[in-house]
C-alpha cells in the first residue's frame, strides 16, 4: 500500500478538479441534498440547556465557588498563612492577617486570623490549587452549581469574607451531622 492511499481516519477524500457535468452545474441537486441535511436537523434532539431551570450535569470532581470553612464550634479555620495566595496561579487571592484578641476564641480557631480575605472572581480560574495548598483545611471549592452572578461593576466580583466564609448555621448543622454519625 502506498502512502497516498492510506487513510488513518477513514475519512480521506481525494479532491478532483474535474469539469462538472450538466446536472452538477445546475446546483439544484446539491441544493436539494443540502435541504435534506438541514431538514434532518429540524427533528434532531436540541442541545440547549435552559440554565436557571435546567442545570448541566457536572463532573464528580467539579469545582465550584470557594468557601472558607469553620470547625464544629463555628470557629474560622483560616490563619492567614498566605499559602493559598502563593499557590494561586492567577494571583486572585489577597489577605491581611490580624492577631486574635482575648474573648475572640469562639470566632477564630488559632491566634492569627484573616482580617481581610478577598478573591477576585474575575481572575480566579477555579483550578483548586488553593485548596491543595491550605494546611488548615480552611479554603475549599464547593460543588455548588451556582455561578458567580453577572454585574456591571468590577468591584462586585471581588468576593470578601462576607461572601466566602461558611454561614454559622451550616457549621452547626455539620457538627450535628458529625455527632450523629
Amino acid at each position: 500500500m502506498s502512502i497516498e492511499t492510506i487513510s488513518l481516519s477513514g475519512r480521506k477524500k481525494v479532491v478532483s478538479n474535474k469539469e462538472m457535468t450538466f446536472l452538477e452545474r445546475l446546483y439544484l441537486v446539491a441544493i436539494f441534498k443540502g435541504l435534506m441535511i438541514t431538514l434532518k436537523h429540524l427533528f434532531r434532539r436540541k442541545v440547549t440547556i435552559q440554565y436557571p431551570e435546567q442545570v448541566r450535569e457536572m463532573s464528580p470532581v467539579y469545582r465550584g465557588q470557594h468557601m472558607l470553612k469553620r470547625d464544629e464550634l463555628g470557629r474560622e479555620n483560616c490563619t492567614a498563612c498566605g499559602l493559598c495566595a502563593l499557590s494561586c496561579p492567577a494571583e486572585a487571592i489577597t489577605m491581611k492577617a490580624a492577631e486574635r484578641k482575648p474573648g475572640e476564641e469562639l470566632l477564630y480557631r488559632e491566634e492569627k486570623y484573616a482580617e481581610i480575605y478577598e478573591i477576585n472572581m474575575l481572575r480566579c480560574i477555579f483550578c483548586g490549587l488553593c485548596e491543595e495548598a491550605c494546611p488548615k483545611d480552611a479554603i475549599y471549592l464547593t460543588i455548588s452549581k451556582e455561578l458567580v452572578p453577572s454585574s456591571y461593576d468590577r468591584e462586585d466580583f471581588i468576593f470578601g469574607k462576607d461572601k466566602l466564609v461558611m454561614p454559622l448555621e451550616m457549621a452547626k448543622k455539620n457538627a450535628q451531622l458529625k455527632n450523629a454519625n
Partner: protein, 350 residues
Amino acid sequence: MESAFIIEKSVVIVAVFALTMLMAMYSTWAERKVAAWLQDRIGPNRAGPWGLFQPLADGLKLFSKEEFEPNTPNKFLFVVGPAIAMSTALMTSAVIPWGDKLHLFGRDIILQATDIDVALLYVFGVISLGVYGIMIGGWASNNKFSLLGAIRAASQMVSYEVAMGLSVIALLMMTGTLSLREISAQQAGMNWNVFYQPLSFLIFLICAFAETNRTPFDLAECESELIGGYHTEYSSMKMGFYLFAEYANMFISSTILAVLFFGGYNYPGMAWAVENWGVNIANVIGMMALFIKLCGFIFLYMWVRWTIPRFRYDQLMHLGWRILIPLSIVNIMITGIVLLRSEIAAYLGF
C-alpha cells in the same frame, strides 16, 4: 355606490391589512424558531408561551431605540425610503383572492379587496416600485456601504424581474387571463398550474427569492462586505420598517406563488363541499387551504435561508441573465408549440 358595498370592501381591506401585518410580525418569530431548530437550538421561548410575544418585545425595543439620522442633505428622502418599502409591500395584497366568496347577510361577499382584470400586471408594477424604497434609502444615507448595497439590490431586482416576467408569460399563455381570481378558479380540483408548468414555477420561485432579497440572493445586506447594506444608517422603527417590509414581501410573494401555481384557495373536493356543506364552510376551508400553502412557502424561504450560503455577485448576475432568461424563453416556446400543436400539425400537413 351603495353603503353596504363600501362597508363590505372596507372590512375586507382592513382584514387583509391586519393579516399581512400579523403574518409579517409572526414571520420574524417563525424565522428565529426555524433558524434555531435547523441549528439544533430551541429559539426564543421566554416571552410568553413558546416565545409568542417575542415580536411584541422586538417591536417595543425598536420603538424605544434612539432615532439616529446621519448628516445627509436628503433628510426628506431618508424618511421616504422606508415608507416606500413598506407601502409597496402592503399594496400588493389588494388583488389577491383569499377565497371564492362568502354568503352573509343575504349578499355575496367576494374575498378579495379588488378584482381587477390586470391583477398580475398590477402585482409586477408594485413589486418593481419596491426597488425605489431601497434605492432612495441607500442614496439618502450618505454612506458608501449603503449606496453599494442599494445599487446591488436595485440591479439584482431589475434583472430578476425580467426572468420573472418571462416565466409568467408561459403561464399566461395557458390561462389566457391576467386576473388572479380567474387563474385561481381555473385551477379547481387538483388542476394546479405547477403540474403543467414546472419549469415556469422553478424560475418564478428562484426569482421570488431574488426579488425579496432573501438568502441566497441577499447581497444587498451582506454583513461581511457591506455592514448592513442599504439599511446601515437606519435605526429605531425606520430600520424596523425595512425589516418588516422584507417579511411582508415574503408573505405576499408566498401567496402569489400559491395562487399562481398551487391552486390558490382550491383544495380537492371543494365542489363537493360547496354542495353538501354550503358556500360559507367550503370557503372558510378554502381560505385555510391557501393559508397552509403560503405557510409552506414561507417555511421554504426560511429553510433555504439557513441552508444555502450567499451567491457571489457575478454568479448572481450570471444566473439571472445567462441561465434563467434563456430558460424562460425556451419555456415560452415549448408552451407555444404545445398550445398550437393541432394548428402546427395541420400546417405541416399531417
